[in-house]
Symmetry: C2
């Protein structure tokens, strides 16, 4: 086994999830994440934790959802029509086993890395939406654990990134095997700016695309120094972003980084906000998938997150939100659910069954202001060499 797999497991278990002896740890292993699953299990045995392994197979999920569609179509006829006709399946909103798992778990480690990033592409969007809605309680129980999501560098992810497999392994391990303490210190400066600020404005001018000029309130919200550890309320490995939960968004935003929503490629999203909510939208590709997200529930049209990518170890977009949103010189906004960590105690932020991040490259013709002061221009932060205020 590549020694970096074991190093990855050690960072995940010790730095990220802070697993201790006696912890009950649930590990979800995707189809091709077997080697990382083995390394994580070994590390958990060494730490004296209990381990339960789930099979995180997208192909199994697809089969279950397709079977459910068949049932909703009346079964028996053996002819799932596969289109949007008929009723969406009804799913149990309180599945006893999954609920019990996450209520009993101390930590949840999701090891992504399937065999096909578009494995669920032919599942009706309404089916997925119905399933996501029904699973809200399970998802919340899962997020109440010390959860961490990471990926094993599989061929399928390499392909999505347009890279050779060995090249992609280097990319992933460069992003994951970092000096996380040093990066956490660096990001603390941005967190201070956002914690003290009241209003953020992002302006980007582009040729052949709509400009971005969007403002949002962040007063009273707490930014998360996302240093890839539950000790920082940070749940992705790799990480390297600072994010908060904005509200009262107004203006227009354009996102030039492509993404995949529900197995559909989405490009050049343009959102128009009024009174905190999306009132108009467009996309050059995948507009239906975008519409489906925005129509999930009321919260799906409001922002749940403003994030500043600060991990300059990630040097290119790979169509994976785990990496893309952390890349230096990017800013992202997410529609949907806000993270509790950003909210004052007892206050509920934007609530939704979805959380979909959208990313802008801000390395050129761009600035971010906090309370009227420029904090970042063309990618440079004001405490960095080369910053022009």
């Amino acid at each position: 086994m590549d020694e970096r797999v074991r190093e990855h497991a050690a960072v995940l278990v010790d730095w990220s999830a802070r697993v201790e002896a006696g912890d009950d740890v649930v590990v979800s292993v995707a189809e091709d994440a077997h080697d990382l699953g083995v390394a994580v299990a070994e590390a958990l045995g060494e730490r004296g934790a209990n381990v339960t392994t789930l099979y995180g197979s997208e192909e199994v999920s697809r089969a279950y959802l397709k079977g459910s569609e068949e049932r909703a179509d009346g079964g028996g006829d053996g002819e799932g029509d596969g289109d949007d006709g008929g009723d969406a399946p009804v799913f149990d909103s309180d599945p006893a086993v999954d609920r019990a798992i996450f209520e009993a778990a101390d930590a949840y480690l999701r090891l992504g890395g399937g065999r096909n990033t578009t494995a669920t592409a032919d599942v009706d969007r309404r089916t997925r939406r119905a399933y996501a809605k029904a699973r809200k309680g399970v998802r919340e129980a899962r997020m109440d654990t010390d959860w961490v999501s990471t990926v094993h560098p599989t061929r399928s992810l390499a392909q999505q990134a347009g890279m050779a497999h060995e090249e992609y392994k280097d990319f992933v391990y460069d992003a994951v095997l970092r000096d996380w303490e040093a990066l956490a210190d660096e990001m603390a400066r941005m967190k201070d700016v956002l914690d003290e600020g009241h209003e953020v404005r992002i302006v980007t001018e582009r040729e052949n695309a709509p400009d971005t000029d969007v403002t949002m309130s962040i007063a009273g919200r707490t930014a998360v120094n996302s240093a890839a550890s539950v000790a920082y309320d940070s749940h992705n490995l790799p990480s390297g972003e600072v994010f908060t939960a904005p509200y009262d968004t107004a203006g227009e935003a354009f996102f030039d980084v492509p993404m995949t929503i529900d197995a559909t490629r989405v490009r050049n999203v343009h959102l128009v906000f009024e009174d905190g909510a999306v009132v108009d939208f467009a996309a050059a590709a995948g507009e239906d998938a975008l519409a489906s997200v925005l129509d999930t529930d009321a919260g799906a049209r409001r922002l749940g997150e403003l994030g500043i990518g600060m991990n300059r170890g990630i040097d290119r977009f790979t169509d994976s939100i785990l990496f893309d949103e952390k890349m230096g010189d990017t800013i992202h906004l997410a529609v949907g659910r806000a993270y509790d960590a950003c909210l004052p105690d007892g206050e509920s932020g934007n609530d939704s069954a979805v959380h979909v991040d959208m990313i802008s490259d801000v390395s050129e013709n761009s600035r971010m202001e906090v309370d009227g002061e420029v904090v970042q221009r063309n990618g440079r932060f004001r405490w960095e060499d080369g910053f022009e205020g």
Copy 2:
């Protein structure tokens, strides 16, 4: 996908586990049982059941156990010694998540089929024994569900059986895709004999091997018509045996069918019983593994099962207990845990953390008597053509 995979899933879900809408079903998918996992998930979606998939990887289990050994060895030195030196690891006897899973589950479907049937061969036996002991509560909770164990025909199992992959698929599906109702009717005759009987005697004469002449009481016990369905208290697919829970065993028994215990090949087991317990034993190969089983706890030296193989669709031994013990013209005895289904209400049978089956070919020079009457001679039952009483 081979259509037989879907047929296998349908038999498992409908005939074996009797899954109904709203059931909470836990499916454990071994490393190479993916296709069957997909087919089962689709079937569960069609039936309107909830599904939770566990990753039943022996390699993950090995890694966890090896990591635990490392911890027991004092960790830090990075040198697991791999031998029997040092203390066995201590495992949590009440792991919260696994306990919660099986307490909440209605049914548990185990889809075997890893990549290497000897994947845990280098785990210290004492470690495995300590783990098995600690997991007794979880195992009991699991057996309180409508559990069914089956296998997907993988290359690794084909290799263990000494067969080509396609040949092995035919072997498995011939055994699984049967007319189970008809077989259940046939087996009901043997169940009647055992339910009404008080004492069983098995006699087999062999050249170049010890004879078998063993008696056991079955008075008051109830035989299970193991027709591969929880409706018959039968939990293996395929099945095709009638079994009960004997006691007060005396005499000697020789088992000529090879088997694998804890990844160790065991051949020609000879057991000597007095007052219901094994007082002497030998094996031509794997005697240490046998000894380890018998030393697990007090119940490991007493019989938990007498079983009569009646599935003549299985035409050869394949070193897999799931198939071997069901083969027509065989009888097996298991040391260890008895199944509750064989016991009168409120009475506890033989208790143990282990249950290990051992098989004899009874097609020649052999007879089984119940209360002095010959019921089976040289494989033929007394209700069959060719039976000589």
